[in-house]
């Protein structure tokens, strides 16, 4: 996971911070230079549709603020002092030290300092120096740390699953999406640890070992976390290669989960029938406008692999659009780019779109100019080029600064109806 940090991706610390602050009553302690915590937190918060924090966040994030003295003489003393102060002042259930660039360059023994506080609080640490990787690296490092250092052994619960791969703030609709996936899995009779919704918090993290299955909604995220959980607690992993959006992808997702957990086929069928009744009732109501305006457009998508692959299946295989260009911007590791391209191009009704893995706005603009789509799904950064091409634009990927997103979901069945409303709204509001 390498490549330049750009407007669509923050550094590792930027991914790690929301991965910690979005856990109920978890307190991050940044061990880095002054401003690192605040700036990366706010770049994620403002870029994710203005999604603020419920507890610790922004200006309340503790930081060791390492200065020149620490750079010269080492920062362990300063971190120790900061942790003492933090435990006295901050009211948290767990504390996660996140190390920045300077700490790694100095070579502080953060593990040893954190060890000193084990008796006083639930505490872990993750090395998320900005130069190590991007937002996704930060998310992965936090979950590797929690899986290895915080999760405790517990008895397996047959119908319990952990959900990974939806990255807080970088997936703009993370909260709503997790809620919808949880709702769907609960229909199968499962208990779902999303970790990030409904104030699940510390107990859910500690007992992540009890799950019968780790479900990862990504071909590559949370690799080290699920490997650690598998090694420590023998939990198997099911990967679904993208965010399931719409009835077709959702049915496939639920079928695969049911298969992995040996849920009886009859039960699955009943559940899918009820879900399809709900979602197709909504689509039938939508038929009035969809057929009247013949919403079958030439589509381009720009965003992370999960969002792009998820959207494309709903657009092509449920609604009947023509995806022509998919620009993937999350810099996935090379060993999964083929798999991602396959997820994006394997469509039932539409021809395969061109797939590009790009980092530069200039390159993505050029590709869009060449393809001239009628409908652009991207970030707010892609609004200008869409306007230039007289295309309808909807902000769906990071960064989004033209919508407030809190609980809105695009995933699953209910999310797909929400997405359809937003597409139609974007289209008719320009008429």
């Amino acid at each position: 996971m390498s490549g330049p940090i750009n407007e669509r991706l923050c550094c590792a610390l930027g991914g790690a911070l929301p991965a910690v602050t979005s856990l109920h009553r978890f307190v991050p302690v940044v061990h880095a230079g002054p401003g690192c915590g605040l700036q990366t937190f706010f770049s994620q918060a403002y870029g994710s549709g203005f999604h603020g924090s419920t507890y610790v966040g922004g200006v309340s994030i503790p930081s060791s603020n390492t200065y020149e003295r620490e750079v010269v003489f080492g920062g362990e003393g300063r971190l120790r002092e900061e942790l003492k102060g933090t435990l006295n002042v901050m009211d948290g259930d767990a504390f996660v030290v996140l190390t920045g660039c300077t700490s790694a360059l100095i070579g502080d023994d953060v593990s040893a300092v954190v060890q000193e506080f084990k008796g006083r609080a639930k505490i872990a640490y993750a090395e998320v120096s900005g130069f190590k990787g991007n937002t996704y690296y930060g998310y992965d490092a936090v979950w590797e740390a929690l899986a290895g250092q915080l999760v405790e052994p517990s008895r397996k619960v047959r119908n319990r699953v952990n959900l990974f791969g939806v990255v807080p703030t970088q997936d703009i609709f993370w909260k709503g999406n997790l809620n919808e996936i949880k709702r769907l899995l609960e229909l199968l009779g499962l208990e779902v640890a999303t970790f990030y919704t409904r104030r699940q918090g510390l107990n859910t993290v500690l007992s992540a070992s009890s799950a019968a299955l780790n479900i990862v909604l990504s071909p590559y995220l949370a690799r080290s976390a699920v490997e650690t959980l598998e090694k420590r607690f023998g939990t198997p992993t099911l990967r679904f290669p993208y965010l399931p959006i719409g009835p077709t992808a959702t049915a496939e997702f639920l079928t695969r989960v049911a298969g992995a957990l040996k849920i009886p086929n009859a039960k699955l069928k009943t559940i899918l029938a009820a879900e399809h009744a709900e979602v197709y009732d909504a689509l039938t109501e939508a038929a009035l406008s969809l057929t009247a305006f013949q919403l079958q457009k030439r589509v381009a998508l720009v965003g992370d692999s999960n969002t792009v692959a998820g959207l494309i299946h709903f657009l092509a295989d449920d609604l009947g659009h023509f995806p022509e260009l998919a620009i993937v911007t999350d810099q996935p590791p090379e060993d999964v780019t083929k798999e991602i391209a396959k997820s994006i191009t394997k469509l039932r009704y539409a021809d395969a779109p061109e797939v590009l893995f790009l980092n530069d706005q200039e390159d993505s603009d050029a590709a869009l100019r060449r393809v001239k789509p009628e409908l652009v799904f991207g970030s707010t950064l892609d609004k200008d080029i869409a306007r230039e091409l007289h295309a309808t634009h909807l902000s769906v990927s990071f960064p989004i600064t033209d919508r407030l997103i809190l609980d809105r979901a695009y995933a699953g069945n209910r999310g797909s109806i929400c997405l359809l409303e937003d597409i139609m709204t974007a289209f008719v509001s320009t008429l």
Partner: protein, 346 residues
């Protein structure tokens, strides 16, 4: 530096190295100074004198509409503003050396560059810190008037502006009179906003400044004379101290950085942000803007009241019983003038 020197012949654009390592300073304006140092060293040279041109240094916390308002005021007294560096071209930066004077929309931000223009190119510098509200804009314009020989025109302009704004101020005072306000921001912004109390009728119970230096000394003295006793915190985003202090003071209204207004709301305190780049926040129109926003926040506190009943801030109850400045400590000998702090910070 060498890297820039080697690369420069290969590109048409001017390359300017700026050294601003985060661990070098506790004070954010150090970075602004570093940027201006780069501009001054690499992009400036002597240019012909332009007696009606005044450099106006624009920080990131002011928007295009603020420039429009200052340009309007300048137009009335026969001056032109050279707004730099926000939205500026290299030509705008270059012609700054021939201007009649330099003023800053925020002196904390612009002081380093203004001094450079004085020392190297003989362009005199105005010392007033920010043109916002009646008193501060008057003083800011008067000083520019003196430096450009426009005293008379400035005097007449001020009289016209005062007359135009008085009825609105009277309306705003009806709501704001006697209200206890806490203000937080960069040093220039914070003391200038506090001074609005003179015209809007509110009291200042506390001020947080991100740092302190001599450029705001006379302003602080004036505030002390006008408002009597109030608390001062000098800290860059030390939220745990800040919240403790605010809980003690229980202001009616909080005015602060966009990042801290949400915190005030969780405490149940109506709040408004110290700038909004989509509006005119400076000049005589600026006081209308803040007066209106403060009034709205006070008139309907539904949002913060609801939050305070259901949300909580991440501090231990025991912390609120302790001295907010408990974690301040004297620094070691080599920099014994500096006060550093431990505990939760940014």
């Amino acid at each position: 530096m060498d890297i820039v020197g080697k690369l420069q012949p290969q590109v048409n654009a001017r390359l300017v190295p700026i050294q601003c390592e985060g661990f070098k300073s506790k004070v954010w304006v150090t970075g602004c100074d570093a940027a201006f140092h780069g501009i001054a060293e690499y992009l400036l040279k002597p240019t012909p004198k332009q007696p009606d041109l005044v450099n106006v240094i624009t920080p990131l916390t002011t928007g295009k509409l603020d420039e429009v308002e200052i340009a309007r005021l300048f137009g009335e007294i026969g001056l032109r503003g050279n707004f730099i560096p926000s939205f500026a071209t290299p030509e705008d930066l270059a012609q700054s050396t021939g201007a009649a004077a330099t003023a800053a929309l925020c002196l904390a931000f612009g002081d380093y560059f203004a001094r450079h223009l004085t020392e190297k190119y003989g362009v005199p510098q105005a010392q007033e810190i920010m043109p916002l509200g009646v008193r501060s804009t008057d003083q800011w314009l008067c000083e520019i008037g003196k430096l450009t020989g426009k005293e008379k025109a400035v005097e007449e302009l001020i009289a016209r502006e005062h007359k135009a704004i008085q009825p609105e101020l009277a309306e705003l005072r009806k709501v704001l009179k006697g209200k206890r306000v806490f203000i937080s921001g960069g040093q220039a912004r914070a003391v200038t906003l506090a001074a609005l109390g003179e015209d809007l009728g509110f009291e200042v119970v506390g001020i947080t400044m991100f740092h302190y230096d001599e450029i705001v000394e006379s302003n602080i003295k004036w505030l002390a004379k006008h408002f009597g006793n109030f608390k001062v915190q000098v800290a860059n985003m030390q939220q745990f101290e800040h919240v403790n202090l605010i809980k003690r003071l229980k202001p009616d209204l909080y005015v602060g950085e966009p990042a801290t207004t949400a915190t005030a709301a969780v405490l149940g305190i109506p709040s408004t942000a110290i700038f909004d780049l989509s509006f005119t926040c400076l000049g005589y129109r600026g006081i209308r803007f803040f007066g209106e926003r403060m009034t709205r926040a006070l008139k309907n506190p539904a949002f913060p009241k609801g939050l305070s009943r259901h949300a909580r801030l991440p501090y231990r109850d025991a912390w609120y019983a302790q001295d907010p400045f408990k974690y301040l400590k004297e620094a070691n000998e080599e920099n014994n003038k500096e006060v550093s702090r431990v505990g939760s910070n940014k």
